[in-house]
């Protein structure tokens, strides 16, 4: 980890929230705005007609279950860190990481299934309805990769005994971000279900 000396001397700040945690929430807000733009564009575009209706890949439901499970394991790792149960912290983080990878793999399979059903991202036979699905899953997948990097960094920290009840900030931020990514997927999945 690069230790950056950014001269925050006092962590009990005016708002009572750690500045980095506050920054993370702001970043989350900006990601929410991005997906708000995509999904509202989706609705607006769908209302205009010329919209290809197709079945969502069935694997998306399994992926949804996987990502919920990964949130559970993440929370478990965080709770264990609070109780200084360092072994379960590691197990929890590894489980989260693997479930995250499994989710991405599942999404990839979902795309393969779409291609089999002749739903393409681009090209002459594509329709925005299919392209939107690729964009929503793809951009979410990109953010999930950043989440995986975060989990990995936290895991490395825990291997160096840097994650424990006196040093919770990193795993706390990681947990918030991971839950957000899970919640975001849940929103996207429900949104796609309703609008299909």
């Amino acid at each position: 980890m690069i230790m950056v000396d950014n001269r925050i001397e006092n962590t009990d700040t005016a708002s009572g929230v750690h500045p980095l945690k506050f920054s993370l929430w702001l970043i989350i807000i900006s990601i929410i705005m991005m997906f708000a733009a995509f999904t509202s564009a989706y609705i607006v575009r769908r209302e205009e007609g010329n919209w290809l209706e197709f079945e969502l890949p069935t694997i998306l439901l399994i992926n949804t279950a996987i990502i919920i499970l990964s949130s559970v394991s993440m929370q478990w790792a965080y709770n264990s860190a609070k109780k200084d149960n360092l072994k379960s912290v590691k197990i929890g983080l590894i489980a989260t990481f693997l479930l995250g990878v499994a989710f991405l793999f599942g999404q990839w399979n979902g795309w393969a299934q779409l291609v089999q059903d002749n739903i393409y991202f681009g090209g002459s036979s594509s329709n925005p309805s299919g392209s939107f699905l690729y964009v929503l899953t793809g951009v979410h997948g990109f953010h999930l990769i950043t989440g995986l990097v975060f989990v990995l960094l936290t895991l490395i920290g825990s291997l160096k005994y840097k994650v424990h009840s006196k040093n919770l900030l990193r795993i706390q931020l990681c947990t918030i971000y991971w839950h957000f990514l899970g919640g975001l997927w849940l929103y996207l999945y429900i949104f796609l279900r309703i609008n299909h």
Partner: protein, 608 residues
């Protein structure tokens, strides 16, 4: 996006001077990859000035074309190369010029250059913080901006030229490389550059908001903040909420251009060939674009509001009139800015009822804007005015904001917009109210805070010459434009001599072009004054303007960490100017009430 590599020294040091770091920073750490907010602010300022001159120069080239449509510009051949043939400007290059002028001025100068400079410089200094919440993210923000700048600059030298579809890059024009030269690789680079630019703005905005909320010094409640900080706070919030939407829009456009999707494209027949794209909607892009685009104009103007409020109060030696009304009106403007975007789209075939809703919301913005103008004038009223150059620009700002704002009320009407849409009336309106006004806010800020940035004063005489030349030139350029706009003269036309209707405006256009050239030339006075004063200017004192805010309690050239000793505690609001009973006409924020018993008001007696 997860910024995992940032961690914070958790050990709590109470203020002693361990911040005078004794390890010597080398040149690169100190001036290039610096994490000091003041250095980053100056980097943004230099970047902004560089871009402003490029953007201004581009406008001079197209003003030459508009002012003297029949002339041949052989003397431009050495710099424009293949873009000018036998002294005649390439019409597609003309489109690229206006596009790049708009992009550069709106984003690279008035967004990055203005809030990048003053948010970085003033937020920590005025709230009493050692630095931004994350110096690393702040540095990253500048360098991503730098990368975006390099790509945008590079695109100017492509063989097919930079982007040419207008700064709003509406598809399908911008989505189809075969449409115009400016939609080829120049457009690709525009999109990459803007995507990076947005990332840079988001990193910066997150930092500004976090810093203002979390790192205020003891006693600095939100209602004791200078209006500059309030304005920069709202600017950052607007950016955080609207830039991601532009990012989404740009991403879909990138997919349409390079990956064969049809988000914005449908049923197009171009160059004898029918495209396969079906199902897209170009109006969708406009909605997404203007959802950013409208808040963007407030991202440009809000920092200027803040800077001007501060400078007017200081140089009128009077408390700002209606401090809370100022904050309230900024909240009003910020909220309304998100629900008026469709007034840019009245003529897209929008439902007239929807149009009237957006018209209504748009016209309401006149109310908080008028409150602000009233408060500035009321602050000036019977003040002990000192006409420093910063103050001249602040007053100039108020004048331009009024002139440009009034035409906004006309343009906001969906019925009148049918005639005025995409004419020079629109050009005149937004150049006065957000272009020139925001520039005046920026000049006002540079002249006023120059002593704190560089420890020296700028020359006041040259400053006054610069002000009057610029002020007069701006009005001479944009006032006549209203007139040709009402007559129906459309924007973005390379040449109008073929149209009988517009022939009669040749003289007026020549006049505008002359004024523009004079105005642009005047900026070199500023450039000289700025560069000369950095090295040879008169040395400044700690508080040359007798101002109340915290940045003037630092040494002449504050080091990294801003205050050598303890950070001052704040006891009062920043506008105690000319308080009756006080020995001097200003009482800085860090002076406790117990030290000013002669001037305390009855309700302040308890605080002694």
């Amino acid at each position: 996006m997860s910024s995992t590599d940032i961690s914070i020294h958790k050990d709590v040091h109470h203020a002693h001077d361990e911040h005078d770091h004794h390890h010597d920073q080398n040149f690169i750490e100190k001036y290039i990859f610096s994490q000091d907010h003041k250095v980053i602010a100056k980097q943004f300022l230099f970047g902004g000035i560089f871009w402003a001159f490029i953007g201004g120069f581009l406008s001079i080239i197209f003003r030459l074309q508009l002012g003297w449509p029949e002339a041949t510009f052989t003397f431009l051949e050495p710099i424009l190369g293949g873009w000018i043939e036998n002294g005649k400007l390439d019409p597609e290059f003309y489109l690229a010029l206006v596009t790049m002028h708009g992009t550069i001025m709106v984003f690279f100068v008035l967004t990055a250059g203005l809030s990048g400079t003053f948010a970085n410089f003033l937020i920590p200094l005025q709230i009493g913080a050692r630095d931004m919440a994350s110096g690393f993210m702040n540095m990253l923000s500048f360098w991503i901006f730098f990368l975006a700048s390099v790509i945008m600059f590079w695109s100017l030298f492509l063989e097919t030229g930079p982007a040419g579809g207008g700064w709003t890059v509406y598809p399908p024009l911008s989505a189809l490389p075969q449409a115009i030269k400016g939609s080829a690789s120049g457009m690709t680079m525009w999109l990459i550059s803007m995507a990076l630019f947005i990332v840079s703005q988001l990193l910066a905005g997150v930092n500004y908001i976090t810093t203002i909320i979390n790192l205020r010094t003891k006693g600095m409640s939100m209602t004791k903040l200078p209006l500059t900080v309030w304005a920069l706070f709202f600017t950052a919030i607007l950016g955080l909420l609207s830039f991601p939407v532009l990012f989404s829009a740009a991403l879909l456009l990138i997919f349409d251009r390079s990956f064969g999707t049809s988000f914005y494209l449908s049923d197009i027949y171009i160059a004898g060939e029918a495209l396969t794209n079906t199902g897209g909607s170009p109006i969708l892009f406009q909605h997404l674009f203007w959802f950013l685009g409208h808040p963007e104009v407030y991202i440009v103007i809000l920092p200027a509001f803040g800077l001007v409020s501060e400078v007017i109060a200081t140089n009128s030696r009077k408390p700002i009139f209606g401090y809370r009304a100022m904050i309230g009106s900024m909240i009003g403007i910020a909220v309304l800015s998100f629900v008026v975007w469709a007034h840019h789209m009245f003529v897209t075939g929008m439902n007239p009822f929807l149009g009237s809703v957006f018209m209504f919301l748009t016209l309401i913005i006149a109310v908080p804007s008028a409150v602000k103008v009233f408060n500035w004038i009321a602050t000036l009223w019977r003040g002990n005015i000192r006409f420093s150059t910063g103050m001249l620009f602040a007053i100039g700002f108020v004048s331009l904001f009024i002139s440009g704002g009034l035409t906004g009320i006309i343009l906001g009407n969906s019925a009148l917009d049918i005639q005025l849409h995409d004419t020079y009336f629109v050009v005149a309106h937004f150049h006065l109210v957000m272009g020139a006004a925001a520039f005046f806010g920026m000049f006002c800020g540079v002249y006023h805070w120059f002593p704190k940035m560089f420890g020296r004063m700028m020359d006041e005489k040259l400053g006054a010459v610069h002000f009057w030349a610029t002020f007069i030139a701006v009005y001479l350029v944009f006032m006549p434009m209203h007139y040709i706009g009402i007559a129906g003269f459309p924007r973005r036309y390379y040449n109008w001599t073929g149209f009988e209707t517009f022939n009669i405006f040749t003289d007026l256009n020549t006049f505008i072009s002359l004024a523009a050239i004079i105005g642009f030339t005047a900026q070199f006075i500023f450039l000289f004054n700025f560069l000369y004063s950095i090295f040879k200017g008169r040395r400044a004192t700690e508080n040359p303007w007798h101002s109340n805010t915290l940045e003037w309690t630092t040494p002449v050239l504050p080091g990294h960490g801003n205050w050598p000793g303890e950070i001052p505690t704040v006891y009062r609001w920043p506008y105690d100017y000319s308080k009756p009973g006080a020995p001097e006409d200003f009482i800085p924020q860090h002076v406790p009430f117990s030290a000013t018993q002669s001037s305390n008001l009855p309700n302040e007696k308890d605080l002694e």
